[in-house]
């Protein structure tokens, strides 16, 4: 995973609560064998006017001009501003895969569904929790005539660039460490290669039939 240090990007305001994983990436796309390539179908049912199926040429589909992702103001947005209980529904990892594949790096919301929150970190997405009033204020700014650009400083745990000065946020120290160092779970575990090898060596003696 890439290291996450400071990050500056345009904010896309998705003004709905309880956005579920099926809305983030509809289930007909789950039969894919890849974890990349979900970006063009992120929010598919909201984003396009026709019904999406895997294998379609998305560039030729009619887009829904009303949907915020299609607003030219938010082109290239990489920070998603959302409402409460974002990511509820199934446990599949396709939802964070789709968001990351589209280009989002940060989500800001008052709350998240638990599994989605965990899965986000596993996939290098930073989900930030802010209180509802702060989120409201950010929505006001992001929905203004000019797009809002924010800088997320993970090390300082600060969001800068909004009207009201820097906004602090909380994050579990271990998760912060992993993102800063670019460690995914596998990377972390591989820091303990010697322990795994030592364990295996011992087990090969104790229970050799397991290593046929």
């Amino acid at each position: 995973m890439d290291r996450f240090v400071t990050f500056t990007g345009v904010v896309c305001p998705l003004d709905r609560s309880n956005v579920d994983t099926d809305a983030i990436i509809p289930k007909q796309f789950l039969k894919s064998i890849k974890r990349t390539g979900f970006g063009p179908n992120l929010f598919d049912a909201w984003r396009y006017l026709d019904h999406g199926e895997p294998g379609m040429d998305n560039s030729r589909r009619p887009v829904n001009p009303e949907f915020v992702l299609n607003d030219p103001r938010y082109a290239g947005a990489s920070i998603l501003l959302a409402r409460e209980n974002f990511g509820c529904g199934s446990s599949r990892e396709h939802a964070p895969w789709a968001l990351a594949d589209y280009g989002f790096k940060v989500i800001v919301a008052p709350s998240y569904a638990d599994i989605f929150y965990n899965n986000s970190f596993k996939n290098g997405l930073l989900p930030i929790v802010l209180n509802a009033a702060t989120v409201d204020a950010l929505f006001d700014q992001a929905q203004g005539s000019e797009a809002l650009t924010l800088t997320v400083d993970l090390d300082a745990q600060q969001i800068r660039g909004g009207d009201g000065g820097p906004i602090g946020f909380d994050i579990d120290p271990f998760r912060k460490h992993c993102l800063l160092e670019g460690l995914d779970d596998i990377g972390l575990t591989l820091q303990h290669v010697d322990d795994i090898r030592a364990y295996e060596a011992k087990r090969r003696v104790e229970a050799p039939w397991l290593f046929k």
């Binding site: 039969k31 894919s32 064998i33 890849k34 974890r35 990349t36 895997p54 446990s91 599949r92 990892e93 895969w97 899965n119 596993k122 996939n123 779970d185 596998i186 972390l188 575990t189 591989l190 303990h192 322990d195 795994i196 364990y199 295996e200 087990r203 229970a207 050799p208 039939w209 397991l210 290593f211 046929k212």
Partner: protein
């Protein structure tokens, strides 16, 4: 020394390292792989340029998407075909042993593992599938994992885990004739609920569990996940050791005695403490039939569809009403008046040889009732199918009007062509009766193989003991 539970013993033997907060790096002895949850994990390895940690720990088979009819022409559905082909390619690239679609050993991953001796007592076993709990029947610690974890195991042979709490479910005394492992586990879920096991690893014990064959214990452990527990297991006894002996992946003569000596320690010590103990008198368990859209919505076959109005918890009552609506049922209807349109005998819960024997014993000399549109028998694996054919079970089924199919998941989750149409009602030996599980709008009643066969030949649910 402190008395240990079986769970403690299995867990402790696999700790690679433990952090102060209990986060543990747990070593995984066996990783089973199938086509649905593995492609992104292999892709992740490739993207990160990471090698496989230990190829011999992995065993793969295609099951969810494979057709159960003639396979000589391949898979018709292009999306299913891609998943199965991708598994073949990944296994070839990473040099993993795979039982491909046309291998005689192919089958449902949870049938194949124990059958091959690839899951052994004392192992940690994982697979990207929630019904991995099945393998606990041989005294293994086995549970399902997500795709990121599949990749994690491929790359490190470990999982990052926190230990669950320990629950002991004691099925006390003996069950009556005609009452099977499926009825036992449905009764357990009816008693503790689908969230009753959340946060726990369940050890199943008691005379009724010891009386079960290893296959029967697999049926019970298979549905531990439907009770909310990630893992379910049974202590090793002489039956376990007899079951394992001589299987292709089992220890050979050079290690056999040592392995057995170790396996014989795999039981909870006297005086071991559990966080929760549930005791169910076996004699009270009758053949079970689910009536709703959750496995806990279950009654005995001589009962009736329950009345939401009699439920004091308003949330539960509401759930019951929605379930009855979806299932097209009315409160008070006797279970024996419910008439399925289809019958499915199969799935990782009930597709082993003794399941097919039990169903065939009921089907023998009878005919599938006129009201049944389709009655499928789908063996769990190639070896199960071959064994059944040696015993002539296929003839019994075919003569009675059942279809005899090739092994796979089939109508358990309707990812291949076998499915229910909207509104169709099915007597099914699988494990999930969720909305749409067997096809959009399909209505599932979970039962044992004998009860499914009995419903097929009478056209309605019936107490198999009355037949």
């Amino acid at each position: 020394m402190k008395a240990k539970t079986l769970y403690d013993k299995l867990w402790d033997a696999h700790v690679v390292r433990e952090e102060a907060d209990g986060t543990t790096l747990l070593y995984i002895d066996r990783h089973l792989v199938h086509e649905v949850t593995s492609p992104q994990a292999f892709e992740g390895l490739r993207l990160a340029g990471r090698p496989l940690w230990r190829r011999g720990a992995n065993l793969a088979t295609a099951d969810h998407n494979v057709p159960t009819t003639d396979r000589s022409r391949g898979i018709a559905d292009p999306v299913s075909k891609v998943q199965v082909d991708t598994l073949d390619q990944n296994c070839a690239e990473f040099d993993i042993v795979e039982f491909g679609m046309n291998d005689p050993r192919q089958g449902i991953v949870h049938v194949v593992g124990p059958e091959q001796g690839a899951t052994l007592p004392g192992m940690t076993v994982v697979c990207g599938d929630s019904h991995t709990s099945t393998h606990g029947a041989v005294g293994a610690l086995a549970h399902g994992i997500g795709t990121s974890e599949v990749e994690h195991v491929l790359a490190t042979q470990c999982l990052i885990q926190k230990k669950s709490k320990a629950m002991l479910v004691v099925v006390d005394g003996t069950v009556g004739p005609g009452v099977t492992a499926k009825d036992i586990v449905l009764a357990i879920i009816g008693r503790i609920g689908t969230a009753g096991g959340t946060g726990y690893a369940i050890e199943f014990s008691g005379e009724a569990i010891r009386d079960l064959s290893i296959e029967g214990r697999m049926t019970v452990c298979n549905m531990a996940i439907e009770a909310g527990a990630r893992a379910g297991f049974v202590a090793v006894d002489a039956k376990t050791i007899d079951y394992v002996r001589g299987r292709p992946f089992a220890p050979g003569p050079e290690h056999w005695d040592r392995a057995v000596a170790h396996w014989q320690t795999l039981h909870s010590d006297d005086g071991a403490e559990f966080d929760r103990v549930v005791v169910i008198p076996a004699a009270e368990i009758r053949p079970q039939v689910t009536w709703g859209t959750s496995p806990e919505m279950v009654v005995a076959v001589d009962g009736a569809v329950p009345d939401p109005a009699a439920e004091s918890d308003p949330v539960k009552a509401d759930g019951m009403r929605r379930a009855l609506d979806y299932m097209g049922l009315h409160a008070g209807t006797p279970i024996t008046e419910i008439r399925p349109d289809k019958v499915f005998i199969g799935s990782c819960t009930n597709s082993r040889i003794e399941d097919l024997r039990a169903a065939a014993a009921v089907a023998k000399g009878r005919k599938v009732a006129a009201g049944i549109r389709q009655a499928l028998v789908v063996p769990g694996s190639g070896p199960v199918k071959a064994q059944a054919e040696r015993e002539g079970l296929d003839r019994i089924f075919i003569d009675a009007g059942f279809e005899w199919r090739e092994p796979g998941c089939s109508m358990c989750l309707a990812m291949n062509a076998d499915r229910l149409e909207a509104g169709e009602r099915c007597a099914s030996t699988s494990n999930r009766n969720f909305e749409g599980r067997q096809g959009q709008g399909g209505r599932t009643h979970l039962v044992s193989p004998a009860m499914a066969a009995a419903a097929a030949v009478t056209g309605h649910f019936v107490d198999v003991r009355d037949l």
